[in-house]
Symmetry: C2
Subunit: 439 residues, 2 copies
């Protein structure tokens, strides 16, 4: 089979752009209105998207009050409640939830994902995060955040425990013979009895083995231990390379690490986040993006630009070009990127600031044809197996993707015209894991 793209939708928040909720025609409450989110999920399913992806935070993120009062994501649904509700009103699209290995218990996590997998008939995925946010620590009784390496050590063991709990029952453990009265075969139940450095969990899990064997494992870490954890465990990687070269390097690195631990490269799909703005012409798309960026408040915007520059930009003339800035040791690559962007697009300080305060990651801004060209290049050059689409505003930005970009990808044979399987593993071409305790 020829190579084709996998597409997931980044849906918590429903847009990562801080100005999204103010765009003309946008739903101001898109991120926190179940009826809206249900309609988005159903549209994504009608467009055959692989999955609906929810990031998560375990806190209201610490930010200056000027940014806080403009933040459209302070109030959001918790992942399991939202995805379970969506499971009941969709049939095929995958449902990926973020859950923390630092501030939760493996028994709870194993149980909820198994439950979501059963309720959705095999559509659940677990995005493993180690939660690096100190604000979250303070919501869970801790003053200090655990050190990076320690968090990844716990995450690795947590993964072993969760997958071990999912294997508590053989796939055929439940007989339910009304005549004899035998409901399950106790020989097909395994007590994990895990005792490790970080965790002690007896088991068994109080739910049958998930439909998919294990829900799909997702990882987003791009640090050294994050990449290694992904290579060892992940089946889907969500990442944020800034350009094609960066994407190729990350792709080669993670797939190379997989080979080193004896895994099949095809058993992990790498889907960079891509902010997609569709227009009738490239200029039209760029104008939409400029309009969107202009809705970012200057106070929060200039703070973001200062961070990217490693230099306080608040004194610059907002309507002039970016002035010369003395070199510093801090954030060289970030600074170089800002300078390149300012030169390439001839942006004023205000426009630059609003770009950084809005959404500054990888973006495909153009017509369905030019965006499909770019996506195809990433696929052909082994920089991606598809994309995690970030919408600029809702509903229109999402409709533009599902009604214009997806049909163009389908015409090129780059994206499915209909789901072929029923589980997320089937959508992604991933094998169903064997049960480690029962063959």
């Amino acid at each position: 089979m020829a190579k084709f793209l996998h597409l997931t939708a980044f849906m918590r928040p429903v847009s990562l752009h801080t100005g999204a909720w103010r765009y003309p025609g946008a739903f101001a409450d898109a991120n926190f209105n179940f009826a809206h989110i249900k309609s988005f999920a159903q549209k994504l399913e009608a467009a055959n998207f692989d999955a609906f992806f929810m990031a998560d935070h375990l806190a209201v993120l610490n930010m200056p009050v000027e940014a806080l009062k403009r933040s459209h994501t302070v109030t959001s649904f918790e992942p399991f409640t939202l995805l379970s509700a969506l499971a009941a009103v969709t049939e095929r699209i995958g449902l990926a939830a973020t859950a923390s290995t630092t501030y939760d218990e493996p028994y709870h996590i194993a149980r909820r994902f198994a439950s979501l997998d059963h309720i959705s008939n095999g559509r659940a995925a677990w995005n493993i995060v180690t939660t690096s946010n100190p604000d979250a620590a303070r919501n869970f009784g801790q003053d200090e955040h655990a050190e990076h390496g320690e968090r990844y050590k716990r995450a690795r063991e947590f993964y072993d425990v969760v997958t071990g709990l999912w294997d508590s029952f053989a796939d055929d453990a439940f007989i339910r013979d009304q005549e004899s009265g035998i409901f399950l075969d106790p020989a097909k139940m395994h007590v994990l009895a895990h005792k490790g450095d970080e965790l002690s969990v007896r088991g068994p899990l109080n739910i049958a083995r998930p439909v998919q064997g294990w829900p799909v494992i997702v990882q987003a870490g791009q640090s050294e231990p994050g990449r290694q954890l992904a290579a060892e465990t992940a089946e889907l990687v969500f990442c944020s390379p800034r350009d094609l070269a960066g994407g190729k390097a990350l792709y080669a690195d993670i797939k190379g690490r997989m080979a080193a631990v004896g895994r099949d490269r095809a058993h992990l799909k790498i889907l960079p986040a891509a902010f997609v703005v569709v227009g009738e012409t490239v200029e039209d798309a760029k104008a939409k993006r400029s309009k969107l960026d202009s809705l970012v408040h200057y106070d929060s915007a200039i703070a973001s630009l200062s961070i990217s520059l490693g230099h306080d930009a608040s004194g610059f003339d907002p309507d002039g070009p970016l002035p010369e800035i003395p070199e510093t040791n801090a954030s060289k690559s970030g600074r170089a990127q800002v300078l390149k962007l300012a030169a390439d697009e001839k942006l004023t300080v205000r426009q630059l600031a609003q770009r950084y305060g809005g959404y500054s990651g990888l973006a495909f801004v153009g017509t369905p044809q030019t965006i499909a060209d770019e996506m195809q290049a990433w696929l052909d050059e082994e920089a991606a197996d598809g994309f995690t689409v970030v919408f600029p505003y809702l509903p229109q930005g999402l409709d533009d993707v599902t009604q214009q970009l997806v049909p163009e990808l389908q015409r090129r044979g780059l994206f499915r015209r209909d789901y072929e399987g029923s589980t997320l593993r089937e959508h992604l071409g991933l094998p169903r894991p064997a049960n480690r305790f029962f063959s």
Copy 2:
């Protein structure tokens, strides 16, 4: 308004009777089939039930293998995943989930119930349990279970933290003014900064105040500290008195404790669990129950009877009457109950054992008229504000209640013919709590 009954359905497991799944015509997988459970919830909603209630366990309960292999509840859905899925396919019925204060974190609990309350438009309820099961402890890294008083101390503080987190935002904190770009009013966000003996939680919660202000608080503890916690905090009590006298005593005790702490007696509804078997005649209903009891395996049944008697019954003639048993100190009231039941219903040892191995709590077994008479007596004599209905088998036992008993209760003016409000608080006649930080 005249007094009328509130009815909730005990739905995890969907039947507490161990033989339920074997009854002729019963769904063997009723407890673990989302399509079935969805249809049950929709039928209960069509019958105007106040709420769908989920008990919970954080383990596969420890039991002899002969009982384990016959247990139809070893595999169950996790409460939040199931109730959230049901929230998307129902509109009015309340959704009550059990969550443990011993093995979970207040930030998670506050967030999930708030999320369920928003997704369901104000239908969530939290059944506070302290989890007394040692098997659960071992799934959460602990060898020993926390001592009773210690668990209740944490539960009380946990409740304060959860309700405090629900009050993180004023009801009108979210402005969402697209023109000015102001999404929320930071002056209407409260940082809890709780530091107590058991818990340290900063806040704020990352979700708007629940639709109901706070989800309805449910309590089931009947111990001394359980009753006190209920009197101080609960708005709905699920309990298990064995007869009308026991119901009256418990009702008077809890409502009396409420008065002692300055609460309005009307702001807590007491709904004893009642196993309901409807027949065309009383004899028909009793025959259904006997048939159901006969499906309980003798090995597990005799163990249950032995426990209730405080005496090993395994050597008794199964088909003879209960022999004389020497008095012991253990379980005097349990023993007296067995002897009374054996005499009243002239049961053999096998039948007695199967009653105790099946479901031995309060039961209403008769015609819609006789059952309505009994329910009315409990209401009139201040032994109950309604009932938590336990179904004998599904779907028929549930259909019998919704199609025969409920219309009889409606004819008598004892039960609503349609929901009057939209939230669970409105169904129960409970006030919406004020926000402690914002008036």
